[in-house]
């Protein structure tokens, strides 16, 4: 038995955005991504007795989420499979220009870029985990969610000067962390 314990009451605050960024690039639909995360949390709660405590909570939740994503695609494919039209390239007619469809476009970097951006996004969220909770929340609201300085100051009951000190420290810590783990 490992020594990691589950704290489901903190899952939404700690992991929902990480899981969301992991999911959105795979399902490409905000609603579906959010539903899959809700399902993941519920499945996690239902199988919490199986958690051995060897992996981190997040790793364990990701493994559940992966299965949810696979199930989601299975469901889609079983629905549309019957209507799918397949091109048979072994036909004798398939000559000349038709064969171009089979050649991978060497200049199409979309998939590669998306994958790199996803890894980068998860690295950024990993680094945000190393900030203290309040600092991470303020940094996220300001940098990712694009909240006004005034709105954040009101929510946390701090002055703009306090906010900028927190942002400065968070940015320094983030830059150092990403320097170590990304660049």
């Amino acid at each position: 038995m490992g020594n990691v314990l589950l704290h489901p009451e903190k899952w939404v605050d700690k992991y929902s955005d990480y899981l969301y960024n992991y999911t959105i690039v795979r399902v490409n639909d905000h609603e579906i991504a959010q539903d899959l995360i809700s399902e993941t949390f519920l499945a996690g709660l239902n199988s919490k007795d199986n958690f051995k405590g060897d992996a981190s909570e997040r790793t364990w939740l990701i493994s559940i989420l992966k299965r949810k994503i696979i199930d989601h695609y299975r469901k889609i494919n079983s629905n549309k499979g019957r209507a799918e039209v397949r091109v048979n390239y072994s036909d004798e007619d398939a000559e000349g220009e038709w064969l171009e469809e089979k050649v991978k476009d060497p200049f199409d970097r979309t998939a590669e870029d998306r994958m790199e951006n996803e890894e980068l996004g998860l690295a950024i969220l990993n680094c945000m985990d190393s900030l203290d909770e309040r600092q991470a929340k303020i940094f996220k609201m300001k940098t990712i969610d694009d909240f006004d300085t005034e709105a954040i100051c009101n929510e946390f009951n701090i002055t703009p000067s306090n906010l900028w000190v927190i942002i400065h420290r968070a940015r320094r810590a983030m830059a150092m962390c990403l320097e170590e783990n990304w660049f």
Binding site: P8, E9, W11, V12, D13, S16, D17, Y20, N21, I24, H30, Q34, I37, S38, F41, L42, L45, N46, N117, L120, G121, I124, L125, K140, K142, T143, I144, D145, T149, W164, I167, H168, R171, M174, A175, L178, W182
Partner: protein, 82 residues
């Protein structure tokens, strides 16, 4: 006009941070650049700070809307108390 930006690294760094969020004024940015002409440390810090902004933008991170998070918390809480 805050001419301290010209001489104090702390003030220049503060403007550099505000600039990342487009919250600095034009004058503040000019004074910060003037500071950076002669201050190598601030020049380097500014480059790193800008790089951080660029990679965060590139990652295009998304957040779950607060209402949805609230909904998730509620469901989890209900399940826990069952």
């Amino acid at each position: 006009m805050n001419f301290r930006i010209l001489f104090k690294c702390g003030d220049a760094a503060h403007i550099c941070d505000k600039s990342q969020y487009r919250e600095s004024s034009r004058t503040e940015r000019i004074l910060m650049r003037m500071h950076q002409w002669w201050c190598k440390v601030c020049r380097q810090h500014s480059a790193e700070n800008t790089k951080l902004t660029e990679i965060i933008q590139k990652a295009d991170l998304k957040s779950i809307p607060d209402e949805k998070k609230q909904e998730m918390r509620k469901v989890i809480q209900q399940e826990i108390s069952k």
